[in-house]
């Protein structure tokens, strides 16, 4: 683990030209502009300061994690990026463009996908339909041409996209629940479906809010594998919030720590974990997990 800790060394290792990732190639070449940049973001709700002057950059092709105590403003930060909240001050740039004021719905189109901390699936739809909703901005046929399904090409389009969606389903190993109603799935499966839905957007940047919460070790392993594959093979940049330090340490290239809405540290996982302030505010001293991390994990 320690050996490949340097994020720049790890960044998109094997761009796979045959892979389904649309943006797989983009991360190659000279260190391009960061895919995402938050500039002095401040967010207030009445008296509550959820974020105070937070700046950071996410590089193309990396796995970037945000950690921090509960209520530190992590989700709020992600909400600012995905458009749910509008920063009170500061700016957010994506792919070089200022998106601070871009309406939420337009962000899917420019390549931002996300999952939610509290599950937000379409509970009465089948898993398949949930994921197809993810394709929304890629589909062209509206109700006008959709009603005469067979005549004006809606069917052809549906089938083409269905094929791609099935690939995502295979990849995330949820074939067996394809036709189940999303609302009846267990927590862990729902998280997976949510991920599938976000992936279906074909995002360049995928925001994951606590993807491992409520999972057991085995499932976390699966989830970690999916995230890594998305990052490495599908070429997606990943911004992740996670409380499981093991996961954060192992799969992120860089980590940012928030506390009380302020950024208190940023850097490689090891560097951040070594920060005494972080240890105190977030992990608590003499944490067993920290011990684990300090020891080299077996490959």
């Amino acid at each position: 683990m320690a050996a490949d800790a340097s994020p720049t060394a790890v960044a998109p290792a094997r761009p796979d030209p045959t892979g389904p990732g649309r943006h797989a190639g983009e991360a190659q070449g000279p260190p391009a502009a960061p895919i995402l940049a938050a500039e002095h973001v401040t967010l207030r709700f009445g008296g509550v300061r959820a974020l105070t002057d937070v700046s950071f950059e996410v590089r193309r092709g990396e796995v970037f994690s945000i950690i921090g105590p509960n209520g530190a403003g992590k989700t709020s930060m992600v909400n600012c990026i995905s458009g749910r909240y509008r920063p009170t001050e500061g700016a957010i740039r994506f792919d070089g463009k200022d998106i601070t004021r871009l309406p939420t719905r337009k962000r899917a189109g420019i390549g931002i996908g996300r999952t939610f901390q509290n599950l937000a699936l379409f509970g009465h739809m089948t898993v398949l339909d949930n994921i197809m909703v993810g394709r929304h901005h890629l589909l062209r046929h509206g109700f006008w041409t959709g009603m005469p399904y067979w005549l004006l090409g809606a069917q052809r389009e549906e089938i083409a996209h269905r094929r791609e969606v099935e690939e995502i389903i295979d990849f995330l190993e949820i074939q067996h629940v394809r036709k189940a109603t999303a609302g009846t799935l267990s927590y862990g499966l729902r998280k997976r479906v949510e991920l599938a839905r976000a992936v279906a957007l074909k995002p360049k940047l995928i925001l994951l809010d606590e993807p491992m919460a409520g999972m057991n070790l085995e499932e976390k392993e699966d989830m970690a594998r999916f995230i890594l594959d998305l990052n490495e093979e599908w070429g997606m940049t990943v911004l992740m919030i996670e409380h499981d330090m093991g996961v954060v340490m192992d799969i992120s290239h860089r980590v940012m720590v928030l506390d009380f809405g302020r950024k208190i540290a940023e850097g490689t996982p090891e560097a951040v974990l070594a920060d005494p302030h972080v240890r105190r505010a977030y992990l608590g001293e003499a944490d067993e997990v920290v011990h684990d991390v300090d020891e080299p994990a077996v490959a």
């Binding site: 509550v48 209520g71 799935l185 927590y187 499966l189 409520g214 057991n216 093991g246």
Partner: protein, 280 residues
């Protein structure tokens, strides 16, 4: 399977040979009249102990808890076979609110706080079944455990995920139950708070003598506070034993605790094949 659990050093307070406070015998649960989720599940929770219930996603852990607390029926679910006894009396078929009055309180998965009320109102509601005058003092006790909650005066719906989890646990304390059913209390909490929450769970058990049935994905933590544990798989208990025994089990280590001995697998280099669980 339901062999009398041995005393575990971790719960020194509960040394006395405990009689089962809660007994679940061979229950079967069906959702929507068709989906069979629990198939003959049995477990028992001794008075004054913490018992952990582990299992993969979709194994039916939450369903088990809901079957005990009677909330199953609000989701078109039904206990179709077997029986559930609390302090010797059958409670399957009893209405959920009556079960609360008997002293079983469930902390539901996903926090489920009342978003359009304040923290304080949520806490007061936790004490709905009580009529004594100590509600106020207990509110202070909860604030003592979770000082953050005191500062949040707005609506609970605007709390962060972790704050809501604290509120959900605090609300359970307000009911002063005999048995708390906890569904993944550590979900979404920061490492620091996870430790705190487990500390609180242990304290509740030791100081207040509350019995706890704990569903948890953080198996390491769960087994460290519990005296006995069950592992569920597809609606059945596949393995049970004292917490210590479980923590030593190869499969549990592999699938729940991670790594063998002191070593931890890295999430980075996962093998793509999976070892078969032996209990299946």
């Amino acid at each position: 399977m339901s062999a009398a659990p041995e005393t575990h050093p971790a719960t020194a307070a509960a040394v006395a040979p405990a009689s089962p406070l809660l007994e679940v015998n061979n229950i079967e649960v069906v959702y929507n009249d068709v989906i069979l989720v629990l198939r003959g599940l049995s477990l028992s929770v001794p008075q004054g102990r913490i018992v952990a219930l582990l299992g993969a996603n979709g194994a039916g852990k939450s369903t088990t808890l809901k079957a005990i607390s009677g909330l199953l029926r609000t989701e078109e679910g039904e206990v179709t076979r077997g029986e559930i006894r609390f302090a010797g009396e059958r409670i399957d078929g009893t209405e959920a609110h009556a079960i609360v009055r008997r002293g079983i309180f469930q902390v539901m998965e996903g926090r489920r706080i009342i978003a359009d009320m304040t923290c304080l109102e949520n806490l007061r509601l936790g004490a709905f079944t009580r009529s004594d005058r100590e509600v106020k003092r207990d509110i202070d006790m909860v604030y003592g455990y979770f000082p953050r909650l005191k500062e949040r005066t707005g609506l609970a719906g605007y709390l962060s995920g972790g704050e809501q989890q604290m509120l959900a646990i605090g609300r359970a304390l307000m009911a002063r139950p005999k048995l708390i059913l906890m569904d993944e209390p550590s979900m979404g909490l920061s490492p620091l708070l996870v430790k705190e929450v487990f500390g609180i769970i242990r304290k509740l058990n030791e100081d207040l003598g509350i019995t706890i049935l704990l569903v948890e994905q953080n198996a390491r933590m769960a087994l460290s506070v519990a005296s006995y544990g069950y592992v569920m798989e597809q609606g059945k208990v596949v393995l049970d034993g004292t917490a210590a025994a479980l923590a030593d089990n190869e499969d549990v280590k592999e699938f729940y605790l991670g790594g063998h001995g002191a070593e931890r697998k890295s999430f980075k280099n996962l093998k793509s094949y999976k070892r078969r669980k032996r209990w299946l």
